[in-house]
């Protein structure tokens, strides 16, 4: 093994150790945020599969998260099944809905597909809101608390982080095989893909279904985490949030999904902290300022990244690393 490889493994080990030790030296708030980030990473990675890798424009992702959340919670409330089963149920339900959502992609492309997913998403929101007998309507469902590994909040943190790591790894592995190559081929030129034996119908549906399954896991975890599931968690604004995470983080990149999700989740929090700090002496209406400021920053970030760093945070990372590798390859170094 080369020095380079050993260095890489050491880095991963360090990261794993840091993540494992985090709850010990981080405050409850930080652990809470970490859980949120991990859940969002899972959802973003799923959306990246559909939009970034397979090139199918989906603005309906929050619907899948919702399906996962409701399915897992309902199973739990009515059957008392353990968390693992509920999560799997959420993923499965979301997968099936994803397949259905994918059907329009067989006929329409680009913006038209986006609009169809938009309409489909609202339809699900409508069901969440109106099917009061099952979903509790606007009030939603209350989720009982769960103690993972007997460790309470810390246990949940470990669960979420491990799941996120596992699912990211799985997604990345797909792209070492024919499945991942198939997605990219369908994105770039689907007629050429057909001629190579790629069943475009199958792959498009799979892209939607798989992305939705990831979202379903995120939804199930989110429901258990926030202890409540209601329709307002699954609106268009949420879908756009995840789309932004994909684009800002880097399309067709798992690292991008992680960076994008972390970024989009943490920036509003940092903004809030900043505002609280700066107005701690004044009479500024914090709440009134926060919401529009968030929207402006959100918009500026999206537009800015798209215009100047099209490969997103992952692209930025590559550039920084590229410089690092160039430095390392000088004769005499390392």
């Amino acid at each position: 093994m080369s020095r380079h490889d050993i260095g890489r493994i050491a880095l991963w080990a360090l990261l794993a150790a840091a993540l494992a030790a985090f709850p010990a030296f981080g405050s409850a708030y930080l652990v809470y945020m970490a859980c949120l980030v991990a859940i969002n990473v899972i959802a973003t990675a799923g959306l990246n599969l559909t939009v970034g890798y397979a090139g199918l424009l989906s603005i309906g992702h929050s619907a899948f998260i919702g399906v996962g959340a409701y399915a897992s919670t309902l199973l739990w409330l009515h059957a008392g099944t353990p968390l693992a089963v509920n999560i799997a149920a959420g993923a499965l339900a979301a997968f099936l809905v994803g397949l259905v959502f994918g059907i329009p992609s067989l006929r329409i492309k680009g913006v038209f597909l986006a609009i169809a997913t938009l309409a489909a998403q609202y339809s699900l929101y409508f069901i969440f809101q109106q099917w009061t007998r099952v979903t509790g309507g606007d009030r939603g469902l209350s989720v009982p608390s769960v103690s993972v590994f007997g460790l309470g909040d810390t246990g949940f943190y470990y669960l979420v982080v491990m799941l996120a790591a596992l699912l990211c790894l799985t997604a990345r592995n797909l792209f070492r095989t024919r499945i991942g190559r198939g997605f990219i081929a369908v994105r770039e030129r689907d007629y050429a893909a057909e001629v190579l034996g790629v069943d475009v119908v199958r792959y498009k549906l799979l892209a939607f279904g798989l992305g939705a399954a990831y979202a379903g896991v995120a939804g199930a975890l989110g429901g258990a985490f926030l202890r409540i599931v209601n329709p307002d968690q699954f609106t268009l604004a949420v879908s756009i949030f995840f789309l932004a995470a994909v684009v800002v983080g880097g399309r067709a990149s798992i690292l991008g999904s992680i960076l994008g999700a972390a970024f989009m989740t943490l920036v509003p929090e940092m903004l809030r902290a900043l505002l609280a700090l700066s107005s701690s002496g004044g009479t500024v209406d914090l709440a009134g300022l926060l919401s529009p400021l968030r929207e402006i920053i959100f918009g500026v970030l999206i537009v800015g990244f798209l215009m100047w760093e099209p490969r997103g945070l992952a692209g930025l990372w590559d550039r920084v690393r590229g410089r690092q590798e160039a430095i390392d390859s000088r004769p005499g170094a390392a």
Partner: protein
């Protein structure tokens, strides 16, 4: 009043409310035709137009004809700015990117409006005749009737301009085949700018109407979802079809809302879109395009 009369009344109100939809939808369609860009920020452009009108008339006390001009011009300028600074450099980028850019712009506009004017609903001054219009026993609120008349005229004027003026021909040529249009001496960059400016004016007009009826908030752009339904129903390439589609959607929304309640009324535009995408993605009047390999 018997059931039929009630139905007729709802229908007429619905048709009248379609007026604002038609105007905004025209703006959508010409941007898409010329530049192939789907402007997801259209709703927010409507909203800014309404706020500009409010600012000019109520805050700067300009009087409403001047205020109207200010709003229309300001909106056109904003549209030009968006097109020039943000969309022109992005020509040729994938669809995801263009969609996200307009979504991002919409977000920025909402935030700015929220910062300047706050989140609460601001009613517009009553500048439209309040007198309800009576057709026999049927009552149509004055505001609606007048917006319908004004917008009907505006729409017809716009369509006439689009069909017969040189500018309109230039737009249609560009939408049909950019390369050939350029070869014929049409400055397509000018056409892009022009369509955005026109869309800005139309958006402002529609926004002011929406604001007059429901009051202005930074969320006024949500009404654009109905406009989306109109556009999808008509087909993205049909200017004339927009009129028919606008009336249809306005009618459907009001009638459904009256008989099934507000939740279903909000759902209708999405349902329309969904059905169109499944059954006939090119819309009722749009043109089918064959893709050659």
């Amino acid at each position: 009043m018997n059931l039929l009369m009630q139905f007729l009344e709802y229908s007429l109100i619905g048709i009248a409310s379609g007026g604002a939809y038609i105007i905004a939808a025209l703006g959508f369609v010409i941007i898409f035709k010329a530049g192939n860009v789907f402007n997801f920020a259209m709703g927010e452009m409507m909203m800014i137009g309404a706020y500009l009108f409010y600012a000019a008339v109520m805050q700067l006390k300009f009087g409403w004809p001047v205020g109207l001009l200010v709003a229309l011009a300001g909106s056109a300028l904003l549209a030009l700015l968006i097109e020039r600074a943000l969309l022109r450099p992005m020509i040729g980028r994938p669809v995801v990117v263009l969609v996200m850019i307009t979504l991002g712009v919409g977000s920025i506009l909402r935030g700015v409006a929220g910062l300047i004017w706050g989140p609460n609903i601001i009613p517009l001054p009553e500048f439209l005749p309040q007198q309800p219009v009576f057709l026999g026993d049927i009552l149509v609120p004055g505001k609606l009737a007048w917006t319908f008349v004004v917008f009907g005229a505006l729409a017809l004027a716009f369509i006439a301009y689009y069909r017969y003026s040189r500018a309109g021909v230039a737009i249609r040529a560009t939408s049909s085949d950019q390369i050939t249009a350029e070869g014929l001496g049409i400055n397509i960059r000018q056409v892009f700018s022009m369509t955005w400016a026109m869309a800005g004016v139309l958006a402002a007009a529609a926004g002011i109407a929406a604001g007059a009826i429901n009051g202005i908030t930074p969320q006024l752009g949500d009404a654009a979802l109905s406009v989306l339904a109109v556009v999808m129903l008509a087909g993205m390439s049909s200017v004339g079809g927009v009129v028919v589609a606008g009336i249809l959607v306005g009618w459907m929304e009001t009638v459904v809302g009256a008989y099934l309640g507000a939740a279903w009324q909000s759902f209708i535009p999405y349902l329309v879109v969904l059905l169109m995408m499944i059954v006939r993605p090119t819309g009722l009047f749009g043109e089918q395009r064959i893709e050659r390999i």
